[in-house]
Amino acid sequence: MRDVLPWREAVAPDGTMGEPRARGRFGGYGGRYAPESLVEACREVEESFREAWADPGFRGALARLLAVHAGRPTPLTPARRLSEALGVELYLKREDLTHTGSHKINNVLGQALLAIRMGRRRLIAETGAGQHGVATATAAALLGLEATVFMGERDIERQALNVFRMRMLGAEVVPVTTGSRTLKDATSEAMRHWVGATGDSHYCVGSVVGPDPYPWMVREFQRVIGDEARGQCAAELRTGVPDHVVACVGGGSNAAGTFAGFADTPARLVGVEADGGAGAARGRLGVLHGCRSLFLQDDDGQIIQAHSIAAGLDYPGVGPEHAHLRDLGRARYVTVTDGEAVGAALRLARTEGIVPALESAHALAWVIRAAGDGDLPAGSTVLMTLSGRGDKDVSTLKELL
C-alpha cells in the first residue's frame, strides 16, 4: 500500500514527528482537554482520520485536489540576489503560490474531504489573518459544503480584503466581539459554536493546536510542504539536505508541516515567532483550546493577549508538538519584532520580486538577522517556507511606509 502513497514520510528513528503517543501526547504536551460535549466528536474525528489516512483512495483524492485545484507541487525558488547579499544559500518553499495564497489550503482540503467522509455538511473555522478562513470558504465552495468562519472584530478591520473574499466564496463570516477580538477569541467562539453543532458540522481547525487529534492531523495534512521540499532540496542543493530549515510559527502549522519532512535529517529546525506572540519562546505550561502546551499567561494563569503586526501570528500559544520539539532541543524557537518583519518583507520584494505575507516575513527576518550575526554561518544552505503571499497585508504596509 505504501507504494501508492503520493509522498514519502519522514519520521526520525526515535519517533519524533511520528504519530503521537497514547492519549494524543507529544512528550508532556497535547491531549484532549475538551469539554465532555466535544469528546465524542473528537473521538470520531480521530477514528475517521486514522481510517482515511490509511486509505489509498482518500490519499489519492486529496493528492489530486492538491494538484489540480491548489496547484501543487509548489516550486522551490533560489533567492539568488538575497543569498548573495547575505552570504548564505537561501531557498524558498513557495506556499505563497498555492491557490488562495497560503499553505492553509493543504490542511483545509484534507479536512474538507474528511468532513464529507464523516457525513458532515458544514465546516466551522476560526481565522486570524483570514487565510485559513479563505481556504475553508474555498474548499467548502469546491466540495459543496457550507462554511461558517469566526473572526475577531479587530482582525475583520485589518484584513478587510480577506473578509470580502470569504463572503464572495459564499461563507458566513461571524464577527467575534468578546475578549481581545482576535484569533484567540475567534478560536474560543468556534469551539463554543461546535458544541452545539457536532451533529452536522466539522470543526476545521486551522493550525496544529486544539484537542487530539487536531495537532497530529493538521501536521499530517501540512507535511506535504516538508515532504515536497525534501525531494526538491535533494535535487537542487549541493548539500542535499539544507543545513537550516526555517519557518514562522503562530500556532505552528506551516512549520510543523515543513519540519516533518526533515525530522530524520541533521537539518537544524528553527521556528520564528512574533516578539509579541512567542508562545514557544516565552510561554508557560497551560491548557487552552483543548490542549496542553505553552501559553503566554500572567502570574495568575490568565492568558495574555498576543500582539503582532501579522494577524496570523497573534496567538498566545503554540502547538503541543512544537513545545515538545523545543524541550527535546530538536527545534529552536526565536523571535523577531514587527519592525524586523516589515523590513524583511520590503527587502524580499525589492531583491526577489516577491511580496511575502507579514507572517512569512518573520521567518525571513530571522534569516537576515542570523546571517548578519553569524548565527547562520557563511555558506550555509537554508530552506525557508514562504507560507503565504502579501496581498492581504498591502493596506497595513501602506499605512506604515
Binding site: 484532549r32 482537554y33 465532555e36 460535549s37 469528546v39 469551539m191 458544541v195 483543548g290 494563569g301 490568565q302
Partner: protein, 270 residues
C-alpha cells in the same frame, strides 16, 4: 453503585437532603464580580441553596455563553484572582452548605493540582468543577483532590456514550453534573429534551446525586428539571441579574422562587 458511607462531605450533605425528599438547588456566582460579592453567598444560603458554586474567572471561558463571559471579564477587570477569591471565601466562614469551586483547568495547572486543591481546602471549599477537564484527562487532578479532601464533580453530556457515562459517574465525587444540552452555559427559553434522556441514563449507572445544569433559568424549568434530576444548577440566570445591578436581596428573592418551585415539585404525588 456508590457506597454512601465512603462519600465525602459534599456528597453526604447532598445525599442527606435528597434522601429527605428535597430538590437540590445550587446557584452560581462569579467570584470577585463586585466588591462585596460574598454577600451573594449569604443571600444564596438564606434563600435555601443546598450548595453554592463559586466561579474563579478565566480569561478564555470556552464553555460559557455570553453572560458568564461578561461576568468573568468584569471580575477580572476588577482584579479578581484565584488567590483573592479564596481569601474572600476563607473570611466568609461556614454558611451551612458546601462551597463548590468551578474554573477552567489552566487555573488549576497554574498553581499545580496539589497546591490548588490544598488552597481550596484552606478556603473552606469542598467541591470542584472543571468543565474543560474530561474524565480521561482527570487523573492528576482527582489524585490531588482526594489527597486534599476535595470532591471533583465530573460533567456528563448528552453526547456521552453509556460506557463512558458509567466511568464518569463512578469517578465523579460529590455529585454528577449533567449538562442538559449540547451547547454553552446561558439562559434558554425551555428545558432541552436531552435533559431527561441524559439524567435517565446517569441514573442507570449511579445513585450519586445528579444535578442538572446549563440553561435552567426559571421556576418552571427548575420544576421540570426536578422531575428528572435531584436538583439544578443555576448560573447565567443569576449572573445576568448581577450584571444588571441586582443586589444580594434581589438574588435572594429570585432564588426563593426557584426554591419554592423545587419544593412544590417535591410535594406532588409521584
Amino acid at each position: 453503585m456508590t457506597n454512601a458511607l465512603t462519600a465525602g462531605a459534599v456528597e453526604r450533605h447532598l445525599r442527606a437532603r435528597r434522601d429527605a425528599g428535597r430538590g437540590l438547588l445550587m446557584p452560581y456566582v462569579t467570584g470577585g464580580i463586585t466588591p462585596g460579592w460574598t454577600d451573594y453567598l449569604r443571600a444564596f444560603a438564606a434563600a435555601g441553596a443546598d450548595a453554592i458554586e463559586v466561579g474563579l474567572p478565566f480569561s478564555d471561558p470556552t464553555l460559557d455563553g455570553v453572560t458568564i463571559q461578561q461576568a468573568s471579564d468584569t471580575a477580572l477587570a476588577r482584579g479578581a484572582s484565584t488567590r483573592r477569591i479564596l481569601a474572600d471565601l476563607a473570611e466568609v466562614g461556614d454558611l451551612g452548605v458546601p462551597l463548590v469551586v468551578s474554573t477552567y483547568y489552566n487555573l488549576v495547572l497554574n498553581d499545580g493540582p496539589e497546591a490548588f486543591c490544598a488552597a481550596l481546602r484552606r478556603a473552606g471549599a469542598g467541591g470542584l468543577i472543571v468543565p474543560d477537564l474530561p474524565v480521561h484527562e482527570a487523573d492528576e487532578l482527582t489524585d490531588a483532590a482526594e489527597a486534599a479532601g476535595i470532591e471533583p464533580a465530573l460533567l456528563a453530556s448528552p453526547a456521552t456514550p453509556q460506557p463512558r457515562l458509567a466511568e464518569i459517574a463512578g469517578r465523579s465525587r460529590g455529585f454528577v453534573y449533567a449538562v442538559s444540552l449540547m451547547g454553552t452555559t446561558g439562559e434558554r427559553t425551555a428545558l432541552a429534551a436531552s435533559a431527561a434522556e441524559l439524567t435517565g441514563r446517569i441514573r442507570r449507572v449511579t445513585d450519586r446525586p445528579v444535578l442538572l445544569g446549563f440553561g435552567i433559568s426559571t421556576p418552571d424549568q427548575a420544576r421540570e428539571a426536578r422531575r428528572h434530576a435531584d436538583g439544578v444548577v443555576v448560573g447565567a440566570a443569576v449572573m445576568r441579574r448581577v450584571l444588571d445591578g441586582a443586589g444580594p436581596d434581589d438574588l435572594r428573592a429570585f432564588l426563593a422562587t426557584l426554591r419554592l418551585a423545587l419544593d412544590q415539585e417535591c410535594d406532588r404525588p409521584r
